[in-house]
């Protein structure tokens, strides 16, 4: 098992190198001169040259790349042009908000999609099966920002069940003590149930938006792989041996059917991390996505670069975790190593 992990970790290295090169190239090679922007409209050629020198833009590309990697290694993502704050600190402080939203959305989606897919496969042709098919086709066509707005309209304006879509807490609540950065967990740890309620009611709509978005691929995959497993011979044997339906489906079929679903999770995460940006914009969620969007609109490149890099590293790490999950679910993977 340890050997598998080590082998898998080694394959991450070229990917990470590729990611760093791409994020570097995005700023340095492409047109547009940060020094001109930095210097402002009243700049003289001398002041631009000076700024270029202070930013290290007058050096050769390989030299700049070495400096960039060196900065990254020291956790320095540069400073935001508009606020002057270090990007790394800003991203670190906003990351829990995004992570809480994305993970809770994924949790909701798995909690609905997996049982739905199983029932659809077990009772093929039933209304659950048809529902599953409709969701799988319609779900991939829904623009995530549009779903979010529809939910806001119904649950905030029409029904008045949820609070205004403005961030993680309503105006009267104070943010909980920072332990994990996840408000739901922090408020429970400190026993602050009023704030927990506030945080939960703010979180549920954006998380549901993300959940609806990722429902389709997970439900579709669960159904397809459950169908394939249920048709296999070991299931026939299990049934012939007189095991109960419940046991055959949940113990034998489910575990085997989960492998392709876990693989799909990699793709789902790619979509989720992107969709996260849009959902944060709709719900004014103070995560790294809305930070990057604000910076983008002001042509402030360092935060965007830091954001892209953070997201890519997160995504690589998530894929790594997914691969590890294989070993937990499927003993054959462990033996092969």
């Amino acid at each position: 098992m340890l050997l598998t992990i080590a082998k898998r970790l080694v394959t991450v290295i070229p990917t990470l190198i590729g990611v760093v090169i791409v994020t570097f190239l995005l700023t340095r090679v492409l047109p547009g001169d940060p020094a001109v922007y930095f210097a402002g409209p009243a700049a003289t050629p001398e002041s631009i040259a000076e700024i270029r020198k202070s930013l290290g833009l007058d050096r050769s590309l390989p030299d700049q790349f070495v400096r960039y990697v060196n900065d990254l290694a020291h956790g320095n993502f540069g400073n935001s042009l508009s606020t002057g704050q270090p990007v790394a600190r800003e991203i670190a402080s906003r990351l829990p908000a995004s992570a809480e939203l994305t993970l809770f959305g994924l949790f909701l989606s798995i909690a609905i999609a997996v049982p739905l897919g199983i029932i659809a496969a077990v009772k093929q042709g039933s209304w659950v099966d048809h529902l599953c098919r409709v969701i799988a086709t319609a779900g991939v066509s829904l623009p995530v920002f549009f779903t979010g707005l529809l939910l806001v309209y119904f649950f905030y304006f029409k029904l008045g069940w949820s609070p205004a879509p403005l961030g993680r807490l309503d105006a009267f609540a104070t943010s909980p003590k920072d332990i994990t950065g996840f408000y739901l967990i922090d408020t429970l740890l400190t026993g602050d149930f009023a704030t927990f309620r506030s945080a939960f009611s703010q979180l549920i709509l954006p998380a549901a938006t993300l959940g609806i978005f990722s429902l389709a691929p997970i439900a579709r995959m669960t159904r397809a792989s459950m169908l394939a497993v249920l048709a296999s011979e070991f299931i026939r044997t299990a049934r012939a041996s007189g095991l109960s339906d419940r046991r055959v489906i949940l113990t034998y079929a489910f575990r085997n059917a989960m492998l392709p679903v876990v693989t799909t999770l990699g793709m789902v995460f790619s979509f989720l991390l992107g969709a996260n940006v849009l959902v944060e914009k709709v719900f004014a969620w103070p995560g790294i996505g809305s930070y990057a969007v604000e910076a983008l609109l002001q042509s402030d490149f360092a935060p965007v670069q830091g954001f892209v890099l953070t997201m890519a590293v997160l995504y690589v790490a998530l894929n790594l975790i997914i691969d590890m999950l294989y070993g937990v679910i499927d003993p054959r993977v462990r033996i092969e190593a």
Partner: protein
């Protein structure tokens, strides 16, 4: 995968023998075989029609504002209502079709050429070509795709052209994978060896013998990614990239209507969002239908 590859070439060769009636017959078969696919073809025709003549037939100028008639709910005068500046939303939604469809079409065409060529070269030549192309597409896949698109647009500059380029780049790995697999299956097929034996150069074989044979499956890929391309472009303009405000475009119209949603004027964001959803839905159905026909083994 390999079986599917082996099934396709004969079909393609048969249809190339009698192009005149087989193309028509095939098209009719495609439409009638599955009613859902037929419906999506109908929707597709409407979208194309809106894109081509839409801006000329809409009842109001999509850019003309009329502050006296701001934020009116849908009525017979204004089918989809009016927005904050009193512009007719129906006219704007129809007029926007051209831009949205155009962005998606341009980006898909771009990636079709880039990804298709890189993919068949990788599959056909193997070796270093394969390794380099594979490394490039692996690196792209290492990013969450929408995030990479944001980064590319930010770096290249905030224009519609760059949205097209970014959308093409994030679709690159998908095209490479399909083209590479299909070309790889055929690199030593009988007809390729025959062509080689009669003295054709490798590049000529690639372009004149391999490429036509993988066209059907590449076209399926085009219709499957069209929907994603539209969603992606609309998402980018929703966060304020690319398309500038007065221009009618579905993503930016939803963004403009987002503030009205909270005060109950749902129609400002709803109709452009609905148009976007229908367009994406249509392309996804179309892609699924085409895939079932070209490659029955992958039917779900």
């Amino acid at each position: 995968m390999s079986e599917a590859g082996a099934v396709v070439p004969p079909a393609a060769e048969v249809s190339s023998k009698r192009p005149s009636d087989s193309i028509l017959g095939h098209a009719r078969y495609v439409m009638t075989e599955n009613p859902v696919t037929g419906m999506s073809f109908g929707l597709f025709a409407i979208i194309v029609l809106c894109a081509v003549i839409g801006p000329y037939v809409v009842p109001y100028d999509p850019l003309a504002s009329d502050t006296a008639a701001a934020l009116q709910p849908p009525s017979l005068r204004h089918l989809f209502g009016t927005d904050l500046l009193g512009r007719d939303i129906f006219s704007r939604v129809i007029a926007a079709t051209r831009l949205d469809f155009g962005i998606a079409l341009a980006s898909v065409a771009l990636v079709f050429v880039m990804g298709g060529f890189a993919g068949i070269s990788a599959g056909f030549f193997g070796g270093w070509t394969d390794r380099i192309v594979g490394r490039i597409s692996d690196t792209i896949m290492a990013f969450p795709l929408f995030v990479l698109a944001m980064g590319i647009v930010a770096a290249l500059g905030n224009t519609v052209t760059n949205i097209v380029i970014a959308t093409a780049i994030i679709n690159f790995p998908l095209y490479v994978r399909v083209a590479r697999a299909e070309a790889n299956v055929r690199r030593n097929a009988g007809f390729v060896q025959a062509a080689r034996l009669s003295g054709n150069g490798e590049l000529r074989i690639l372009l004149w013998h391999i490429l036509p044979n993988i066209m059907p499956i590449m076209m399926v890929q085009v219709s499957l990614t069209m929907g994603y391309a539209i969603l992606n472009a609309a998402g980018l303009s929703f966060i304020g990239l690319g398309v500038k405000p007065p221009t009618p475009e579905w993503g930016i119209m939803v963004a403009e209507g987002a503030t009205n949603i909270i005060s109950g004027e749902w129609w400002v964001a709803f109709f452009p969002g609905l148009a976007l959803m229908i367009a994406v839905f249509c392309f996804n159905l179309l892609g699924d239908g085409l895939r079932d026909l070209v490659d029955p083994q992958r039917r779900t």
